[in-house]
């Protein structure tokens, strides 16, 4: 929108989205050593990657290190991008592997994915009402208490801009499993909210 309220005396916004660059072409240029392309790539993806990693590891300094490792891997491996996935899911996949390596190195216990997948969703029930009633801050707090695998999944689905098939690709699981884990994650979330509501 081009300055719709000029001379109105208001502090306003104008639409100047300039981030719609061709990511695949950008990666090709990065692969050829184009530093400007790398800087643009960093600007386009770093925040989403950082938010996703931070959601999983819950520690800012560690998340920033993982982000840097991820971008280093992009700088070194851009030429290996074959276009079989979106660039966003490719870079998030790299970040996920970097996160996993760091967590392994720290010997942090991560809840087993299989176990989580087997947890049945609650479906509509009393717990769901806790979600209906919850304030945003309560939902955010409850998400922080979820298992890392659940946080990661919710972040990928709702925070990274990836489609469910792309999330399945990043996690290397079938789409159906993504759905069942989503249901389980929400059930866990509503459970936490319900418990907090009862304790208020």
């Amino acid at each position: 929108m081009k300055d719709p309220d000029r001379d109105t005396g208001a502090a306003t916004f104008t639409a100047s989205r300039d981030g719609a660059c061709d990511d695949a072409a950008s990666l090709r240029r990065i692969g050829q050593g184009d530093e400007d392309a790398m800087a643009a790539f960093y600007r386009a993806h770093s925040r989403v990657v950082l938010a996703q990693v931070l959601l999983v590891v819950g520690e800012r300094a560690l998340a920033e290190e993982i982000l840097q490792d991820t971008m280093l891997a992009v700088w070194r491996g851009a030429g290996s991008f074959r276009g079989e996935s979106s660039v966003r899911s490719w870079v998030i996949g790299i970040a996920r592997r970097q996160t996993r390596d760091r967590l392994r190195a720290r010997r942090l216990r991560v809840v087993d994915d299989t176990f989580l997948a087997e947890q049945a969703g609650s479906g509509p029930g009393p717990d769901v009402l806790a979600l209906d009633r919850a304030e945003l801050a309560e939902v955010m707090s409850a998400i922080r208490e979820l298992a890392a695998s659940h946080r990661e999944l919710l972040g990928l689905v709702f925070g990274s801009g990836l489609s469910l098939p792309e999330v399945a690709g990043v996690l290397d699981i079938p789409v159906g499993t993504v759905k069942s884990r989503l249901t389980a994650a929400r059930a866990a979330l509503t459970g936490i909210l319900s418990e907090k509501g009862q304790n208020r």
Partner: protein, 318 residues
């Protein structure tokens, strides 16, 4: 969802359709029609929207990504071998170089001395910007949590308040609206919306849509979760669809509309005790890439300088 008599699946939207709706991805017309009529599915979509809101809230609260290549004092993996360390250091050096162009300007504009919460507006003596996360609004005061602590912002009737983001709940019947987005078969898919009367605006807005896009303005009718109708001054009705990716701008917002937990910047004259008397308050999600323009005449300060300071502050958070 069910598509025919032989289809024994649930008549309701499946999870993929609900998630697509909540995340603003493409949803089939049939699914969208069903959502408009089905209370069960709307309730489910709202629940997933709450989950998504929590994730977005955490992402908004997440710190700004540090410029790449910042030296880290402890990197055990880089010490695993000389060759590996040299490779990593080489790549890091390249990243430091790439970062310089992209971050130097922002860093220069937003650098703050240790212990201060406000940033001076270049060329405007006495004016400063506070930026951070909105903590609370009480009456005409609001508190912004900045990197170095809370700042109290006082406002007056003349203070301009603007907000932007995925604010579809602000689209209500009767509201004046300007819609910009791609047109298909007479329907406009809203990319950007301006809601509410623009203070002092007269005549038709000056809007130049890109090729293939349309701009329509009028008042909102039949507002729903998936869209609404714009009724133009001439009585023409234009259907508009909205999604999670629709960016809504409210240029004349009320303080009470501001949302806690969202990136907020205020510009004005700084007083004692970390208090700022604001002439403008802006709230938008971090990394929105939408630029603020400031048109209020201010003695001793150009509106452009104020806008630059606000944009730099918001970019610093994004």
């Amino acid at each position: 969802m069910s598509t025919g008599p032989a289809d024994t699946r649930s008549p309701h939207l499946d999870l993929a359709e609900l998630i697509a709706e909540v995340t603003g991805q493409a949803v089939a017309d049939q699914a969208r029609d069903h959502l408009a009529q089905c209370q069960h599915c709307r309730a489910e979509a709202n629940r997933w929207d709450r989950v998504a809101g929590g994730i977005r809230g955490l992402a908004t609260a997440a710190p700004q990504a540090a410029p790449p290549g910042r030296p880290r004092p402890t990197r055990p993996r880089m010490l695993a071998g000389h060759r590996r360390a040299r490779l990593a250091a080489s790549a890091a050096a390249a990243l430091i170089a790439t970062a310089a162009a992209g971050y130097a300007v922002t860093a220069a504009l937003t650098r703050q001395p240790p212990g201060t919460a406000l940033t001076a507006v270049s060329g405007c003596a006495g004016f400063e910007v506070a930026t951070g996360t909105l903590r609370q609004v009480t009456g005409s005061r609001l508190v912004i949590s900045t990197a170095s602590g809370p700042v109290t912002v006082t406002t007056a009737a003349s203070t301009r308040v603007s907000m932007a983001g995925a604010l579809r709940s602000d689209i209500t019947d009767g509201a004046p609206v300007i819609v910009l987005g791609p047109r298909s078969g007479g329907t406009v898919a809203a990319a950007t919306l301006t809601v509410g009367r623009l203070p002092g605006a007269k005549g038709a807005p000056k809007v130049t849509p890109p090729p293939g896009w349309a701009a329509v303005w009028g008042t909102v009718a039949d507002a729903g979760r998936a869209g609404f109708t714009v009724v133009t001054a001439g009585g023409t009705r234009v259907p508009v669809t909205t999604s999670r990716s629709t960016f809504v701008v409210v240029p004349g917002a009320r303080l009470g509309q501001l949302q806690a937990g969202v990136t907020t910047a205020a510009v004005g004259r700084a007083g004692r005790g970390r208090v700022l008397s604001a002439i403008g308050v802006v709230q938008q999600p971090a990394g929105s890439q939408f630029r603020v323009q400031f048109h209020t005449p201010v003695r001793g300060c150009s509106p452009g300088s104020l806008a630059d300071a606000l944009n730099a502050a918001l970019a610093g958070r994004g």
